[in-house]
Each structure stands twice: as C-alpha cells, then as structure tokens.
Symmetry: C2
Subunit: 189 residues, 2 copies
Amino acid sequence: MGRWEPDARGRLLQAALDLYGERGFEQTTVAEIAERAGLTERTFFRHFADKREVLFAGASALQERMVGAAAEAPAHVSPIEAAAAGVEAAGAAIQEGGELPRQRQAIIAASVELQERELIKLAALASSLAEVLRARGVGEPEASLAAEAALAAFKIGFERWVDSSGERELPQVIRESLEALKAVSAGAT
Amino acid sequence: MGRWEPDARGRLLQAALDLYGERGFEQTTVAEIAERAGLTERTFFRHFADKREVLFAGASALQERMVGAAAEAPAHVSPIEAAAAGVEAAGAAIQEGGELPRQRQAIIAASVELQERELIKLAALASSLAEVLRARGVGEPEASLAAEAALAAFKIGFERWVDSSGERELPQVIRESLEALKAVSAGAT
C-alpha cells in the first residue's frame, strides 16, 4: 500500500459511516474502519484523532462557512438576517455532502454520547455566530438572541430535512424554519 | 451523629458549593463535602449519586415547574406565550434558591465538563417544553421553535441576571430577553 492514497480521508469517512450504520458506533473499531477503506490504522490516525472525531471532523469547516457568510452579509441587513445568511450557508455546506449528512445523523441519533457531542458543537456555532454579530456592531443581548434564534431554525430545519425524502434544498428548509420562528415569536397561534 | 439529620440535603448542597468555589470542582472529594456539612459520606450518597449530581439534582424539579406552568397557561394564549409562562416559572423557581444559583453558575462556568452537562439539561428542558406545546395542540415545527425560542430567552436572561447585581427579578429579566428576541426576530436592527 503506497504512502499516498487518493482521498484517503473520504474513503475512511465513508467506511466509518457504513460500519457505524451496520454494526453500531460502539461496536466498530478503528482497525475495521481502516480495513474496510483498504488503508492502514496508521493512515486513519493521520486523518482523525479517534473514531468519534470522524463524525465531527467537518465541524470547523462548517463553522467557517457559517461565520464567513454572516460576516459578509450586506451592512444594512438586520442582525437576524445576517445570522440567517450564516445558517443558510451552513445548510448549503451540509447539502454538498450528499447522503453522508443523513447517514451521519442516523448514527448520532442512536447514541446518547454522540447526541451530547452534537449539542456541544451546536452551542459552539451559536457562540461564534454571536461573536460575528457583535463584530458587526450588534449589541447584547440582541447578538446572542439573534444567534440562538438562527441556530434554532438551523437545528429544527435540519431535523425536518433529514426526515424528508431529500428532494428539498436544506438552505430553503432552514429559511422556512426561520420564517416559522419569526411568526411564532410574533405570537402566531 | 443521629440517623435523622434536619435538612441534610440542604447542608450537603451548601457545603459542596462552598468547597467547589474554594478549591475547584475537580479538587473536591465527597469525603470533604460530608465533613464540611458535619455528615457522613453514607448520608451524602443517600441524597446524591455523585459529586457532579449535587449541581444538577434540582433539574427535575425545575423541569416540573416549567412544564406545569406552560401546561396551565390559559387555552387562548399563543404558543410562544405558553412557552414564556414555562420559562418564567422556571426563573421564579431558580430565584427561590437565593444566592445558590449564582454560586452554582460560577462553578459550572469554570469547568468544560460541567458546561456540557448544563447544555444537555437545557436541551432536555426544550424537549419537554415542546412536548407540552404539542399536548396543547400546537403543530410542528411551531412547537419546537417556540420551545427553542423560549429557552434561548431563558438562557440569555439567566446569564444576564447572574452577571447583574442581583436586585432584578429573574422572571422579569427572562421576560425582557423574550421581548428582545421577539424584536430581533421581527428584524429590529
């Protein structure tokens, strides 16, 4: 096996998701993931710290896309719309993963430990989004509240998208969730 | 030491919070907590599963207060106002703890592990609040979104209350956060 493997990371990710889905996260070993990917354990550990991090390795790229889009929203838009631009961009990034995000979600839903890790990542996204809004000149508590509201729309929109047949665009489902949140906040019954 | 100790639970709680504040959560043992409270370790374990649970033992009572208030909100109020009644009642319950909630919060803020546990408890509150709203006849995604919005107002309001001098009433600070969330969601700049 050569030292250089084309898309070793992608193959390891797909092998891990497949095995977690087939056998369960707890029951799968790094050795099995590497074998399924046709790679060595050493290669696995060049790409991922451990088998849990395979599932969360995309979080920093997602955060960058979200933060970048919120920061680049036109100066005149309201805090909630800047935050919305961020979470819609995060949705677009997820959608680029094809079926992998749905596969990943099913694995996370099956494990309390992984659900907890996911909550922590979502809280980190909310914090970084609030920080961007403050950098745009939004005061507190408005920055934190707009970030929390946008992340709530992101979370609920993502859950609905995962449960749907997959024909809908995730950024659009997130936008619909945000509009529903606005209506609910305004006292819609 | 007698078998029956008046308010053993309260004394253990206060001793634990004092010691966590003085020495740090990690550095404190159950033996030290029991000693400070003038009780035995055995008594400690009759009241708490472990030293972490001292900090989270109030969560189920808090959840009951919140869920009860949301369930009992008048039938004509909107989903967000039923959710608001829930989180304001939770705020009132916290306020009854006097200085303990602030002491507790400082300890949690100093530990990543405890912050993670707190996030999980907040997510459980949001889930149970959404469930109450569904029982009131609210559909999805509105029930989940109203619950998430109310919990965001609760979380941000609580943080502001903790940081304030303590003269404000927590339910009122939560209500102000909710009004700010409504204004932000409506596109206020």
